[in-house]
Subunit: 194 residues, 2 copies
């Protein structure tokens, strides 16, 4: 069921400092562009990783955009990350990857009409993941990324990495979560069972 | 990595009409209580199923609760459901199961302080999946559940099914989505790639 992707070790020469060395040893990563600073490429199959938690981000009007920011988000983990979360292992082991998938928050009049008909008087309104925005990744490699808490950071939109200025903000912004190995997101409980 | 669960075919005698026949053929379901009307039990391993989409539900004050409803939600699918979504297969094939995991929406002052420090002036605020509320399931069996569009419905909170009155609302409430095989949730695109 999972997409089988041909792993091709890229020999593309890149102008992004530091990326080339990492790309040579790339495994489980797509044959696309590498993010600046950390050289992280889009991991294969991250859309199918298991769920860590769900989040929402809101904000005031953003530069260059006429609307307020409203995003629904999913945090997914590869097998090593999920196991570390469940076992309470800190720091995360090398190879752990956490993916944050971000969508515009959208709604549907017909969905909300169905809710109003089914549950009258409760004022229920639903929103859902609409257009894809971007995805961000934290890749654990305690040696390669020793200068940033053992994590490499990456941001991608439609297959293309964000710029160096954006990536330079990742680690300092995560510093307040140092006691959780720089990871803000906690593993969500299991509704229905817990 | 996935939890291996012993599948025990339950021979529990139940007073819920229609549940006994289904329980005899149960597979991949926990050895717990069955939901009324449809006899669906908690599926094994649903916390690890792949992500369909993310949702949010809000509402006015609810009976018996002093606060407004704010939930973050994840829709997960078993392999058959995910394949059907990706292939655009309608109706969903027998055996497909869709799980909706519901959490109270929670926030953290320290998380928001980190966002404010990292992105000053944007007014960013984050929320995340807090306490588990309940999980709901749609189980496709076109013969067994012919009277309800081929779907059996179930609601569980801390391992216990909701009451019959709640389950009686499931199918009529999903009727407006008849042209999508009674499923409201659409498969979310892949941020980072799409």
């Amino acid at each position: 069921m999972r997409r089988i992707a041909l792993i091709v070790v890229s020999v593309t020469v890149t102008a992004v400092a530091g990326a080339a060395a990492y790309m040579e040893s790339a495994s489980g990563q797509s044959n696309g562009d590498a993010a600046p600073i950390y050289g992280v490429k889009l991991p294969e199959g991250y859309r199918d990783w298991r769920l860590i938690s769900v989040k929402r981000l809101t904000g005031k009007q953003l530069t260059g955009s006429g609307k307020e920011l409203k995003q629904l988000r999913a945090e997914l983990g590869n097998d090593l990350a999920i196991k570390a979360y469940r076992d309470g292992t800190l720091p995360f082991p090398d190879g752990a990857i956490i993916a944050a998938l971000h969508w515009d928050e959208d709604s549907s009049d017909s969905d909300n009409q169905a809710l109003a008909a089914g549950f009258p008087g409760l004022g229920l309104e639903s929103t859902f993941a609409g257009s894809a925005v971007n995805a961000q990744f934290m890749v654990k490699d305690s040696k390669k990324y020793a200068a940033s808490g053992g994590w490499g950071f990456a941001d991608f939109t439609k297959g293309k990495p964000g710029d160096e200025a954006l990536h330079a903000k990742c680690f300092p912004c995560h510093a307040p979560a140092k006691d959780r190995d720089y990871v803000f997101t906690r593993y969500a409980p299991t509704p229905g069972t817990e």
